[in-house]
């Protein structure tokens, strides 16, 4: 890896572990994070081992792949079947829509391609005379890229299916749910690189709970947890930046301007959660001609309903853990996922299933 930016030495790990132990609350305390990459970093590094007995660290609706509505996936598949070359990020490929996933549609012959970047999708449109649709999924970290390519004079055979969401409204919405018992937020690192520290104040400061922006290296996360516990011990809840090398107070203005130029805020649905006001992005009128929808006659399947017994809504809102769900590990597994928490490889249920969940090691 790029030398110098891997923060994982065990000596510092122990020092921060000691700090966490000293700061351990007496009463149960729940920290919620909203980032699939955070969950991967926590699980793959075995960091829950460092948490005191009283502290729980749970994933909320932070996996954009998991919370992309089934309807959006159905639409993407329908576009591909109507002749589009559908370009998508790799982690969307196996997420089931109402009837099938992009991967299964691809194996039936639909032209569905994995790209690492929105720019790659535009390249395909420039090089081939086919109708290319980019499935624009992701939070504020990913939305500026979609905006950038739309402002960069894309060819006429390029369009977008927008499914971008913004995170702070979801964080606020969770706090409004009964029984949320959220003690603190570990805020998403790279979303914060874009939106800055101040963005959380708008939504959350009056709620009076610790909000600490965390990075992704093992030591970054231990540091962020320690800061949360210190705020909690001292009764000084505030928005704190534990990832200053990547997050400025004002965030990334260039990226923010790109988003603001191309997109406007909209009420959108989050799979498994429902509609959250002002939590999504849609194209402004001036850019509406890039909207893929009108370019195709779509044959959409019947929309999938709620699955009886599936507790994804509670898991996604951090009010239940995966093992609380009756379908977990039996009817619902990573190879045959029922609900969104199991579909994305970074969903809470998927990770609990594959990494042994809360079994402490």
């Amino acid at each position: 890896m790029t030398p110098g930016f891997h923060f994982a030495d065990p000596k510092r790990g122990k020092a921060l572990a000691d700090a966490i132990r000293i700061l351990a609350p007496v009463e149960p305390f729940k920290i919620v994070h909203v980032c699939g990459t955070h969950e991967v970093a926590i699980t793959r590094n075995g960091l829950r081992r460092f948490l005191p007995e009283t502290v729980d660290l749970l994933e909320g609706p932070g996996c954009p792949v998991c919370v992309t509505p089934a309807r959006d996936i159905d639409t993407a598949i329908a576009m591909a079947k109507a002749g589009a070359t559908l370009c998508t990020f790799g982690d969307m490929i196996r997420v089931p829509g109402s009837e099938q996933s992009l991967d299964s549609a691809r194996s039936e012959g639909a032209d569905i391609r994995t790209v690492l970047s929105a720019a790659d999708a535009v390249e395909i449109a420039r090089n081939e005379s086919i109708e290319v649709v980019f499935f624009a999924v992701g939070f504020e970290t990913t939305a500026p890229m979609t905006a950038a390519v739309l402002l960069d004079d894309p060819p006429p055979n390029f369009s977008v299916l927008v499914s971008h969401k913004v995170i702070p409204p979801a964080m606020a919405a969770l706090l409004d749910l009964p029984d949320n018992r959220i003690g603190a937020y570990l805020a998403p690192g790279h979303v914060s690189t874009i939106i800055g520290v101040e963005a959380y104040a708008d939504w959350l400061t009056e709620r009076k709970l610790p909000i600490v922006i965390g990075g992704f290296e093992p030591l970054d996360l231990l540091y962020a947890v320690a800061l949360i516990l210190r705020q909690h011990r001292d009764g000084t809840p505030k928005v704190e930046n534990a990832y200053p090398r990547a997050v400025a107070n004002e965030g990334n203005p260039a990226a923010q301007h790109l988003i603001a130029e191309v997109f406007e805020i909209a009420d959108v649905g989050w799979r498994g959660v429902g509609t959250i006001p002002s939590s999504g992005l849609q194209l402004r009128d001036a850019y509406a001609h890039f909207h893929a929808g009108p370019r195709f006659t779509l044959d959409l399947p019947e929309e999938a309903g709620e699955i009886p017994g599936c507790r994804c809504p509670d898991v996604l809102t951090a009010r239940a853990v995966p093992s609380d769900c009756p379908l977990f590990g039996t009817r619902c597994t990573p190879l045959s996922p029922v609900g969104p928490c199991m579909v994305g490889t970074e969903g809470a249920c998927s990770i609990w299933f594959r990494y042994g969940g809360r079994e402490s090691l």
């Binding site: 790029t2 954009p64 970290t141 090398r245 990547a246 203005p253």
Partner: protein, 87 residues
């Protein structure tokens, strides 16, 4: 959200940087970046676009933060224990 890995800038051509991830070279767009950058700088890159400039000093500062917090908490604990223990 979201996967973003740091890479070193090898060269810049207009709004595209050629970057190196420890032996893997690729390109990254700079349109989404606020700071000015030059070869030798590090970039945090997400889906092929730069979102933040990083420097070696940043890395050192980060380690200092970790060390300072650990030391501060340990020191507070030590003085709390000293107060509580019978003299």
């Amino acid at each position: 959200m979201c996967l973003a890995a740091p890479a070193r800038i090898l060269s810049i051509d207009d709004n595209i940087a050629t970057v190196d991830y420890g032996g893997v070279e690729t390109k990254a767009r700079l349109d989404t970046l606020t700071e000015d950058v030059a070869p030798g700088d590090y970039l945090l890159i997400h889906t092929g676009f730069a979102i933040r400039r990083l420097s070696a000093e940043d890395a050192e500062e980060t380690l200092k933060l970790f060390d300072e917090l650990a030391a501060a908490v340990a020191a507070e604990e030590a003085s709390r224990e000293a107060e509580e223990s019978p003299s």
